[in-house]
């Protein structure tokens, strides 16, 4: 019964989505306010019914209702409760439901937080989001219904894929999807603005916090995914340029460009058509990622099961949504003009440079990801495009990006005094060049030019940020001065930016160190034997059999010594999950800020001997810390009082139409 309620809720949500797509938009075009006013309640209803649907599916998992085939294939009575919940989005059908639910939830959030926005704008944004959800709900109901029953009812479920029975991967999809789906808001705002023909600073101002929130989720999702791959897949890598990884990285890059471009459009009214393009791009790439992951057109480490019928549906959906929006863009964008003039040395031009580099990088990755497909389709031969190609392309673009990024925060809008800028940054440049030169020292460079480059860039980012903070606080003193600045309007935006850019520096440092100083070693050991890497001695104490809730583990024990001191005990496992009979490695990691020690257990070679892989991973944590810093920077930026003040002031004012003097476009330095 409960699954039928879920199924029925999905159908109702589809009906509401159709109404939400039609009435507010039509109403805004033919001046029927009552139709436009339907947008908010419809968005509410959609979120509610999708919530019921996801609740019904969760319930089916919790009570082990194996008559639901999705539950039967992805759960088991012995599966721990946490993973029964995360199994809801563990496979294709359920993850689509989560997508649709998040889309509904974002719609409801807009309905709540945009009361001070003109109704017709809200109506159009929600209409666009309704159209998108029509696609997802149809897709689910036609090809991938999570509530489908099966007969005969199996006595036991096939269990969740063991790789997903892990806290990292329980969290990874929801965060990632919140990011993907969140870009639909910026997309909706862009389409609404194109339809309305008005792309102004207010549009940018409204899109901005939504974009930042979506970007924060996506950043977190990618960070968690990378961290999960590192410890769970047992090969110690944190990024492989796999198509699935690229599918999440491309919208992130476009979203990053969008966030920065929106700032320019808001403050200066410039780059309007470019910003709209990026808003369309960020969400289109999110949809493209869905296609790549679920259609099976590319070979990937962790794709969903391939199904051409699903692929065809998503492709048609892509054609409608992306093709339609780009056609609208081609029609309406030529009428967008505006934006003030600015000098070559100005914040606008540097942000434009940053935008173009990010966009070029996005398209490079898109090209590299699709290249094997293109080559195959054109009969040019079967090729693989792997990490060597991507690394080279990435390294071609990112140093320029990082250098620009150091200048950006110190620039003024419209015009910056180049000589003064150089004076301010002189010391930062000298310090970072010196640090870069130290990087050439053989013990540090380890024979790679990338180490001095990475150190230079990280140092440049940090020192230029320090200069920027000092510059900002030059008239303020001590902690009190900092706190008052922090609390001021725009203060958190600024410090959010600082944290985000610091995150980039941390990422560069971590990636540089672990790529050039990481050590890995495959060894065969008998109990009592030891192996040494980078001054750490791993003593193998053998393997014992230990049962888990739904698996049996062979648990190895390693005592790790540095010199004569025992610093830790590592217990990696090799698990066999009982239902799917899959071998899984659970690596054991002793983590630290300057290095991780990582052991993963391989095969039983007989006679107590085991094969195993030992890693020394210097500064690897900094990669994900960098991601967390970026995300936290984004959170800080959206909690800036200047966004809150809108609401507060709204309450003080008369409810409608009180024309206040517009200050948004005025410059204030």
């Amino acid at each position: 019964m409960i699954p039928e309620i879920g199924h029925f809720a999905l159908i109702l949500a589809l009906c509401l989505a159709i109404a939400q797509a039609v009435f507010p938009l039509a109403g805004s075009l033919n001046n029927t306010p009552s139709w436009v006013a339907l947008a908010r309640p419809l968005a509410w209803g959609q979120a509610l019914f999708l919530g019921i649907a996801i609740g019904a599916l969760t319930y089916s998992f919790l009570v082990n209702d194996f008559s639901v085939s999705y539950v039967a294939y992805n759960s088991n009575t012995r599966l721990p409760i946490v993973y029964k919940i995360s199994a809801v989005w563990g496979a294709h059908e359920g993850s689509l439901l989560l997508w649709a639910f998040f889309l509904g939830a974002w719609g409801a959030a807009i309905a709540i937080f945009s009361r001070h926005l003109a109704r017709e704008v809200v109506g159009r944004v929600l209409a666009v989001m309704g159209m998108i959800n029509i696609g997802f709900l149809l897709f689910m109901l036609i090809t991938s219904n999570p509530f489908e029953r099966m007969f005969p009812i199996p006595a036991e479920g096939r269990d969740l894929n063991p790789l997903l029975q892990d806290p990292g991967l329980a969290l990874h999809p929801p965060t990632l999807y919140l990011g993907y789906v969140g870009f639909s808001v910026a997309f909706g705002f862009a389409i609404a603005a194109l339809i309305g023909g008005r792309l102004d600073a207010s549009w940018a101002r409204w899109s901005r916090p939504w974009t930042t929130v979506a970007w924060v989720w996506l950043t977190l999702g990618i960070t968690i995914g990378s961290w999960w791959a590192y410890y769970e897949l047992g090969w110690g890598g944190w990024w492989f340029w796999d198509p699935v990884e690229n599918a999440s990285f491309m919208p992130w890059l476009a979203g990053t460009a969008l966030m920065h471009s929106l700032a320019v459009t808001e403050k200066r009214g410039a780059f309007r058509s470019w910003t709209v393009m990026l808003a369309l791009l960020a969400f289109s790439l999110s949809l493209l990622g869905t296609f790549l992951v679920r259609s099976g057109v590319l070979t990937s480490v962790h794709a969903f099961a391939a199904d051409p019928a699903r692929g065809l549906f998503i492709l048609i959906f892509l054609l409608v949504v992306v093709g339609g929006s780009l056609a609208l863009y081609a029609w309406r964008a030529p009428t967008i003009f505006g934006g003030g003039r600015f000098d070559l040395i100005s914040r606008e031009s540097f942000l434009l440079g940053n935008n173009l580099l990010l966009t070029v990088l996005t398209f490079l990755i898109l090209f590299g990801t699709l290249a094997p497909l293109i080559y195959d389709a054109m009969n040019w031969g079967k090729i693989s495009v792997g990490f060597p190609w991507f690394n080279r392309m990435f390294l071609m673009v990112t140093p320029f990006l990082a250098i620009l990024l150091g200048f950006g925060p110190l620039m003024h809008w419209k015009r910056t005094d180049g000589a003064a800028l150089m004076r301010k940054l002189r010391i930062a440049a000298i310090v970072s060049i010196v640090i870069g030169l130290i990087g050439f020292w053989p013990a540090i460079s380890n024979g790679s030019l990338l180490v001095p480059l990475g150190l230079f860039l990280a140092a440049w980012l940090v020192t230029s940020l320090v200069v920027s903070i000092r510059d900002r606080l030059k008239h303020k003193r001590g902690l009190g001065g900092f706190l008052s600045d922090f609390g001021s309007s725009g203060g958190r935006s600024y410090y959010g930016m600082v944290l985000g850019h610091l995150g980039v520096a941390m990422f560069i440092l971590g990636a540089t160190m672990v790529s050039n100083h990481g050590i890995e070693k495959d060894v065969r050991m008998a109990p009592g034997e030891s192996a040494e890497i980078s001054g750490y001695r791993f003593v193998f104490d053998g393997v014992t059999r230990t049962p888990g809730p739904n698996f049996i583990a062979n648990r190895g024990k390693f005592r790790v010594f540095r010199g004569d001191d025992e610093i830790t005990i590592l217990e990696p496992e090799k698990r066999t999950y009982l239902v799917q009979q899959m071998p899984m490695t659970e690596a054991a990691i002793d983590w630290g800020l300057t290095r991780d020690l990582y052991v993963s257990l391989g095969e039983d070679l007989g006679g107590g001997d085991w094969s195993m892989r030992l890693y020394y991973k210097p500064f690897v944590r900094w990669i994900w810390l960098g991601g967390l810093f970026m995300a936290f920077g984004g959170i800080l930026a959206v909690t800036d009082p200047r966004y809150r003040s809108l609401k507060r002031k709204k309450k003080q004012e008369a409810p409608a139409g009180a024309a206040a003097p517009a200050s948004l476009a005025t410059e204030n330095n």
Binding site: E348, P409, G491, Y494, M584, S600, G602, M612, G657, A665
Partner: protein, 161 residues
């Protein structure tokens, strides 16, 4: 069929043995530098039967055989080009994560530079145009519209991102 379709994430891959990844433990090397060099070399060779894994990682049977061939040639001191030729002449460019530079891959290798250059050209043209533009401030109509949309009070804004 339904079962096949519903099974997700790595089904195939696990069958070919993703877990473990201690592929090189049975080989001996003269030094840890040599071992690292061998690992780096095989990391750029693609396992054919896996979803997307290198010879350095894969535990698949064929990967194991190919790794042994590569190891034997490596220990005989054959140049890397020869080992790569050995694999490519049997399996094609598909085995190389680092695609070779040849006429059919010119687009792959030089396309990005064109894109990069195109980006820089667009940047330069825009900057030049913007530098020459007359100042266009918002019109009164714009401002009116703005305030209607936002219904926002005057607030002190800061220029920071």
């Amino acid at each position: 069929m339904k079962i096949l379709k519903t099974l997700v994430f790595l089904g195939m891959l696990l069958a070919t043995g993703m877990a473990g990844a201690t592929a090189l433990s049975s080989y001996t090397f003269d030094s840890k530098e040599e071992e690292q060099a061998f690992r780096d070399f095989t990391a750029e060779l693609r396992c054919l039967v896996c979803q997307n894994q290198s010879l350095a990682e894969s535990d698949a049977d064929l990967a194991d055989d190919l790794r042994r061939e590569v190891y034997t040639m490596w220990r005989q001191g054959r140049p890397q080009e020869e080992i790569i030729d050995f694999l490519v002449s049997r399996y094609g460019d598909f085995v190389l994560y680092d695609p070779p530079l040849k006429p059919s891959t010119y687009i792959l290798w030089f396309g990005p530079f064109l894109l990069f250059v195109a980006g820089v050209v667009v940047l330069m043209r825009t900057l030049k145009r913007k530098n020459e533009d007359r100042e266009v401030e918002l019109t009164e109509e714009d401002k009116q519209r703005l305030s209607e949309l936002l219904q926002d009070a005057n607030e002190n804004q800061d220029s920071k991102i």
